[in-house]
Symmetry: C2
Subunit: 213 residues, 2 copies
Amino acid sequence: MITVYGYSSSGNCHKLKLLLTQLEREFKWVEVDSTAGQTRTPEYLARNPNGKVPMIELEDGRVLTESNAIMCWLAEGTPYWAGDAWQRAQVLSWLFFEQYSHEPYIAVARFIRGWTPLDSPRRASLPQLRERGHQALAVMEQHLKSQPWFSGEAYGIADIALFAYTGVAGDGGFDLEAYPAIRQWLERVKQTPRFIEMPGPSVEAVSRLAVPD
Amino acid sequence: MITVYGYSSSGNCHKLKLLLTQLEREFKWVEVDSTAGQTRTPEYLARNPNGKVPMIELEDGRVLTESNAIMCWLAEGTPYWAGDAWQRAQVLSWLFFEQYSHEPYIAVARFIRGWTPLDSPRRASLPQLRERGHQALAVMEQHLKSQPWFSGEAYGIADIALFAYTGVAGDGGFDLEAYPAIRQWLERVKQTPRFIEMPGPSVEAVSRLAVPD
């Protein structure tokens, strides 16, 4: 059985829980609180020198890191990463878009608002993160005006990747009112078979997220 | 024939020129100066709403974006992305590492030093970019202590991706003295068949890069 090392409130980690659940694959989940230094212990760094979650481990001890690479491996040969080589490359393109142009703004704004002190100097970066995050949302909206999914003809791993933090963009202070196609797509994703919501963050994070910035 | 839209001094773009040359594939190169707004024109944005280079276009007009996704498509079925599904996923893991944990620090530090005015406020971020960039270099050094390549048993697209900006890390003010395994790997990459160097930047960029920060 696969072991997933992840932090439940992380969208990057929830991608794997959602995909594994939708693939109806059994897995063991080991909670690793990256916000409390648990990815920086000597034991964890010995397995993943980059000190991040998620990570998966096979029964023989081999490990694989990077949420989107793990999804590709899990989805290989399934309808979640389907089509010809060109279509599969388009899915990869969205996965790289997500990690380069979306997550560093939309996920990081959420992290700063919920997981750093209310007087953190990092909060000064929120306006710039919002500007760049809205650029990513505009690119998604444009795509969704003419196509229902990011993964080709059906829902798949590019949708899971982009859903992860778009679904909680409000936590980062992003208003999705101006993106009707995104809002409809979020609802379509939630209607896919065996969909599961990401667990809510801790009480402390929830209380910080409630404070306007 | 494939058309590549790219900026010659961009490591992300040079990845494609290097891979296509090593694959001995013909291609047409269209120079797009992203530092002069040429990726933000209505014509360019109509093809790539994310407004970035590189992008490839097929003869039938279909386009693919994101340097590492394009490399995967080009390398499909070749020795440059070889091995079983697990090994290919390890290559993807390094490609995501490159775009998330390496390029945003090592490439961006180079960009700020060479392509923004000497009094740019962005230069204040250089110390932090250096710190994060050195973390990425340490992860690479650790890997290279026991393995010669990032792409599995032989040179391939993960090496090309990581070479792109590690090979010009000095431009961003990164000293590779402390990374002997990286320096040896850079030399091995340069010895691969049909290797081509990235063209040097403009005279203006070169003169800025020469100024210590």
